[in-house]
Symmetry: C2
Subunit: 276 residues, 2 copies
């Protein structure tokens, strides 16, 4: 999927919503639990109900791995279902992988060659050679962790680093990562994760990273707002994918879960359309 | 598995060898390729042949994920086989996971509750709450990436950080991570990854991290030597697990692969025994 195809979807749907498929056996509605593939059936219903409002779906792999082989199968079924029925929607495997070159190549193969995910989230700690095999596959995206939405982001991400200091300015680790990783790929294959919980940082980031798409988690349950994210993060090609997971998929735990998820996705998309 | 159980194994076998099960369909011997579960059959043969010389096995998950559902199944079969037949040997899932708290909990469930891995490698970028759920499960180990063996480790890991500076000393990111993570857990549930390719750094690390076990990849193919790693890294309870993957498991690509792997593991273990 190209930058312009993604932008076209955003214009058409007047939305930059990413729906997070953090689908967990303990939290899906009771009415699905005895199904053979409960997570897949849940995802299918959520996808069908929200596809008109979403430009991206983001399954988080942890929820599927926690169910072993059967979980992994349902993750594959979900990706396959989306890419077959909604090929224009970006599928981001939220995997946060990162390993040395020959191993990273295997992960790239898992998500991009074997499965048809459009993007995968990556942990940048090990540096360029842990990201390179993902960038080498055409039409696919690397979504690199920069400033995450969790409290402990302050442990290392926001710590100042002198390695790229200019005139005595010590930049925080996440800024160093963004600046470095911008040189590895381009706007057409690289995004960064920046949490909605720190909207003022979005403004700073846009000064040195004006054109890249940013994947923004942390709206809703975690406290961020679309208004603030849009104010500081939008660029001329939108440049934002704002994710909501629990706020949409678990908006109802009853049999009406898909309908209520659609209403919530619709509400967020309407909110987003004001800023486009 | 406890610190003292691990140390007992090391004393008994006079070895601190970890055998990396980076088992890939393209590299296993031809004679196994038509089997129903080629990766598992390969691993089983390698495990049986090298168990007397190894105190740990470390499957790298990327190689299994690259084969989809069937790969994941063979990873589970491998862990199950080792823990059933060699319960005293530590199984390290080399997964390099890391995510926000509720998601990290799912990964911990995948590797520690659903499967019976003893340890999992973790990427520390997102901070304490991405590691906490793993530390909360008793008898299990978090193996945290500090200074990895790949070239791009220099991108971020060795960059100086001022956040924990003392008297103007700017410590590198990997040192900050070790010092911080030492406060999260203890020697009984935390190890650090330090590559054999930078043996002089081992000496430095031992000044502020004397007691923890270190998992050391990069011996053999990547250029590190056991002599140097032992010289700078050993402590009074050994404190080292030195990994070799390709150098052992692919020492022969013929039908004698298991026997040649055993010879290579034996040679490494004999070398290690000199330093214990």
């Amino acid at each position: 999927m190209t930058y312009s195809e993604l932008f076209q979807q955003i214009c058409k749907k007047q939305s930059f919503l990413c729906v997070g498929l953090d689908s967990s056996s303990e939290l899906i509605p009771d009415c699905l639990r005895d199904n053979e593939y409960p997570l897949f059936d849940f995802n299918k219903a959520i996808v069908d109900a929200t596809a008109q409002y979403a430009v991206s779906f983001k399954p988080n792999i942890a929820f599927y791995e926690a169910e072993g082989v059967k979980g992994w199968k349902q993750f594959e079924m979900t990706v396959d279902y989306i890419k077959t029925n909604y090929p224009e929607i970006m599928v981001i495997a939220d995997a946060k992988r990162g390993d040395i070159g020959n191993t990273a190549k295997k992960y790239a193969q898992a998500f991009f060659t074997r499965m048809n995910c459009d993007a995968v989230t990556l942990a940048p700690y090990m540096g360029e050679d842990s990201v390179r095999p993902f960038l080498d596959i055409e039409g696919k995206w690397s979504v690199i962790l920069a400033l995450t939405s969790n409290k402990s982001a302050e442990d290392f991400e926001t710590g100042k680093s002198s390695s790229l200091s200019v005139d005595g300015y010590l930049m925080p680790m996440f800024e160093k990562i963004i600046r470095k990783a911008m040189t590895w790929g381009s706007c057409d294959n690289t995004m960064f994760v920046v949490g909605a919980t720190r909207p003022e940082k979005l403004r700073e980031i846009r000064t040195y990273c004006p054109d890249h798409f940013l994947l923004v988690p942390g709206v809703g349950a975690q406290g961020g707002t679309i208004a603030e994210v849009a104010k500081y993060g939008l660029n001329s090609h939108c440049g934002l994918l704002v994710n909501s997971s629990r706020g949409i998929i678990y908006a109802s735990h009853g049999e009406d879960f898909a309908q209520v998820a659609a209403e919530e996705a619709h509400r967020l998309a309407e909110d987003m359309s004001k800023y486009l």
